[in-house]
Symmetry: C2
Subunit: 324 residues, 2 copies
Amino acid sequence: MMNETAIGIDIGGTNTVMGLVDREGSILKRHIIPTDTHPDYSIYMNSLCAAIDTLISKEGSETSIRGIGVGAPNGNYYNGTIEFAPNLKFKGVVPVVDFLRERYPMEVIVLTNDANAAAIGEMIYGGAKGMRDFIMITLGTGVGSGIVVNGEMVYGHDGFAGEIGHTIVDPKGRKCGCGRRGCLETYTSAQGIKRTVFELLAEMTEPSALRKVSFENLSAHMIDEAARSGDPIALEAFDRTGRVLGLKLADAVAHTSPSAIFLFGGLAQAGDLIFKPVQHYMEEYMLNIFKNKVKLLPSKLPPGDAAILGASALVWKEVDISKR
Amino acid sequence: MMNETAIGIDIGGTNTVMGLVDREGSILKRHIIPTDTHPDYSIYMNSLCAAIDTLISKEGSETSIRGIGVGAPNGNYYNGTIEFAPNLKFKGVVPVVDFLRERYPMEVIVLTNDANAAAIGEMIYGGAKGMRDFIMITLGTGVGSGIVVNGEMVYGHDGFAGEIGHTIVDPKGRKCGCGRRGCLETYTSAQGIKRTVFELLAEMTEPSALRKVSFENLSAHMIDEAARSGDPIALEAFDRTGRVLGLKLADAVAHTSPSAIFLFGGLAQAGDLIFKPVQHYMEEYMLNIFKNKVKLLPSKLPPGDAAILGASALVWKEVDISKR
């Protein structure tokens, strides 16, 4: 039997990465095109299709391609559209799936937001294999989430469910890119922990290597390095970040009671520095009946390939559903 | 064809109410036994069975009884047990469904917590007919919730999902019966709005009829009446209650994106006094993509019969699932 593959496409603010992926999560062929040089979506979509053609023409011809999965910010599963994505140059509603359907006669062409794609990637290739109830939290430039209940992605009535990054920690808190105040994302994204460091530089008097660095120059990586060398400000910043994330994860558990929560993205790679306080505070803030039940785990998806893998996993998920 | 019925049983802290209910939600026959005079669960279960026998022997013999549904505090759907319910005298884990299975050879015998039963009641007989994604909030002595996603109850990996009443508003806030601080329940239950009134009596200087009433004597009904006559403390108490509930419902929307949220219970019967501020603040605190989409609705279940109806609805839900 011919090896089956799926095309996974991740549309990011700067670049669009894509790959031809087999059932086990091996990426047989990759491609990359810029996203942001194409403010007009039809020009972008044409160059996206040209890139897909390249993937198909090379390795693809030796495999049976089951479909195309697309992960994108503000991606809507029901409509197959990208809707008003603040970090993309396309304006309004972009009908990605309809455009691809006219070009490619594949059985499955599906799109969702990037955090949902990561969750499905974890379920198909990663640490959530066989899990029926779990939550994926992506800690990157923003904070995204994908919620799985009874083995199915929670899309909600409108296709936009799973925005735990925009639950509110403090309604009078930090300004968020979404226009409101105090969203989880303003505390636990890469930018969030940086804001916490600056709050602590003002609040605490301890010496710190981070006192030499401007707001613009400070990176999450520098905070990580400072913490590893025992810097008191950096360590406290991780503790506070863990407390806020633990608090809102305890709330999330009270909603869907998952057996595990996976952390993915830059901040998750800080390892124990972030996992220990998150675990500690999540347990502290959790209702009794949920305590000591929920596993807090690092994503098993390889960081560099997670976006392509998650997008391609969308295809296998649909194929599995239609098999039932 | 013989009229089909289901037995609905609601186990409350004081009384257990039950009824024989047809597919349209008409209660053909009712019965009530005390719960709290039976600290030993096997004695209680025997008198529960005697009561069920009475229901079956009278009207039941003229109908085809499809099953028994039980709503109970800390009811676990997967195990069919009541587990460590703080408001019941039974200690530990009570295997209600196993006990009933030994007595009654019915195809469906099922148990869940009271708020989940209310949600399923709303779906089978009430305002959520045909809705695939909604949330039920019960505002009573405590605050319960039932979350429905893709037409299915969210039970979580352990059967305890849907505890929105124990999401945290303020980790340094009011002490909760659950042992933690700042749970939604401490602000928006009947007791919660009373606590808010006392906070406001201290904070504000306006005259108020409520200044004449002791904490022990104040009832949610008196706050309702005071608000209707324009009492500034009572009105502010409803506004604050609505703000806190609106905030946490906005968080709930960010999790599962329901098309509607139903409010049920004593406080919900205050009508516009509570619905208007909840709606206002929920919209204010909601992420843009969710704004002006989520209907906030009063439950359509008759307050006096909701518990029996919800419990009986569990049976129809199972019958519907097995039909697929």
